[in-house]
């Protein structure tokens, strides 16, 4: 397993909703599990989030959306990451959480989102997901 304390995870809240309890709970759980978590705070633009992933050199990005704008914001984040030369699931893993209907979740997964977590997801499940997801990234395979 990749050493957790050497994996940096950005937890971001794109868009205009201010409901950040879920993002904070996940950020804290990942910290407790031993990850280095960077929390961006609320009301972030996709551009700000992608810049954060680049400057922090984070291989994992978790986005939390409860506003209903996930089908606009998440594809935009994916597109910007690719434009900046970060390949999804090769350089960076993206997962999402919040209020995302199953049909949308399926579509997001087709676009490259590795996992979508809804309300009530046990934190253990999220942590185990990150553990598994990073193993397939280029930088950890090389090392």
């Amino acid at each position: 397993m990749v050493e957790r304390s050497k994996v940096r995870v950005v937890i971001a809240k794109p868009g205009l909703d201010g409901h950040d309890r879920g993002a904070k709970v996940v950020a804290r759980a990942l910290k407790e599990a031993g990850y280095e978590v960077i929390y961006t705070g609320i009301r972030q633009t996709p551009e700000q989030i992608v810049e954060t992933v680049i400057q922090e050199d984070a291989p994992v990005l978790g986005v939390s959306i409860l506003s209903g704008a996930h089908m606009v914001l998440i594809p935009k984040i994916l597109k910007l990451l690719e434009e900046r030369g970060l390949k999804i699931n090769e350089d960076v893993v993206v997962f999402a959480g919040g209020i995302i209907p199953p049909d949308d979740a399926e579509e997001l997964k087709k676009m490259g989102v590795a996992e979508v977590f809804g309300p009530g997801t046990p934190l253990k499940k999220t942590i185990e997901f990150v553990d598994r997801a990073v193993e397939n990234l280029k930088r950890f395979k090389e090392a």
Partner: protein, 318 residues
């Protein structure tokens, strides 16, 4: 990409290369050494400002405003913001960046969060490596924000040209201002949240503590100014930035900047040597034939100082 290629990209101003080099320096000591060798010749241009003070004093929020003023003057800015690693889980929640996110899309600003990873002096172990990388990347000013500190975490003096100590009213009486440690490293005092009760008292206490050492300041040619700020309303932020610039001018004019940097180079060499020696001694004492030496001390045939001398003689031989 090889380290050489990454450093070449860094020198061309490639943001991703800068970010990756900091990660490598942080994660791998051998790579950190190699990176320092490649990057060091291209550094020394950036001015490094340390921002330190207790948790919740408003360091990140003040920094957000200072970045703005530096950018208004056309300077490129690097930020290294440090938060603690949990000694229990090894994890960290890095939340300083949150206060500065409006600058994240500015191409002239590079913000990096770092976790202490076991270091106790208020900085991350690889802070100096990160400063070097951002210096070579082309930042004119690099702000280093320490973890929220108490009294003894003074490592920032080994990194910064100017140290700003951010205080807040309501933390203690005047005896706190007289104590050793943190109070002694400030080039500039900021009293943030200066709209709160106790500001005037804190100002007087700091002033008194400074005046106790009037001779020292006269000899030095710089008396630490006290600037009252309210980061949220921008009150005092410009005077704080002006004070930082005045201190820089003072250091440059008096030749003290060169002196300080020389002292820091001495310190950094010392720290590296001490670390290497400690590692070698540790290895030596874990070897099988160290048992005899250790037993000799336990059985009172040899005193620990003589044993240490023997170990030093063996390990320092190159």
């Amino acid at each position: 990409m090889s380290l050489e290629e990454l450093v070449e990209a860094l020198l061309r101003g490639d943001k991703k290369a800068a970010a990756r080099l900091i990660t490598l320096a942080e994660n791998d000591e051998e790579k950190a050494k190699e990176i320092a060798r490649l990057v060091h010749p291209h550094t020394g241009k950036a001015y490094v400002v340390g921002i330190t003070g207790p948790p919740g004093a408003g360091k990140s929020t003040l920094l957000d405003k200072l970045i703005k003023l530096a950018r208004d003057e056309g300077k490129t800015v690097g930020v290294i913001a440090i938060d603690p690693t949990s000694p229990f889980t090894g994890g960290a929640l890095l939340g300083d960046r949150l206060r500065m996110q409006r600058h994240s899309t500015d191409p002239g600003v590079f913000i990096r969060s770092m976790a202490t990873r076991g270091s106790l002096g208020g900085l991350a172990k690889a802070t100096n490596d990160a400063v070097r990388i951002l210096d070579a990347y082309g930042c004119d000013v690099i702000f280093v924000e320490t973890v929220g500190v108490g009294q003894t975490e003074v490592d920032i003096v080994k990194t910064a040209d100017t140290v700003v100590l951010v205080n807040v009213p309501g933390l203690g009486d005047e005896v706190q201002a007289l104590k050793a440690g943190l109070m002694e490293i400030a080039d500039i005092f900021a009293i943030n949240k200066a709209d709160r009760e106790g500001t005037e008292m804190l100002y007087l206490e700091l002033k008194m503590a400074i005046e106790f050492e009037r001779d020292k300041w006269r000899k030095l040619g710089w008396e630490p100014p006290i600037v009252e700020t309210v980061a949220f309303t921008l009150k005092g932020v410009r005077p704080l930035w002006e004070a930082i610039k005045r201190h820089r001018e003072f250091l440059e004019r008096s030749g003290k900047l060169a002196e300080r940097r020389k002292e820091r180079a001495r310190e950094e060499i010392k720290t590296i040597v001490a670390g290497e020696v400690a590692r070698k001694v540790e290895e030596r004492l874990r070897e099988k034939n160290a048992e005899e030496l250790i037993n000799a001390v336990v059985e009172r045939r040899l005193d620990p100082y003589s044993a240490a001398e023997r170990v030093m003689g063996e390990t320092l031989k190159i």
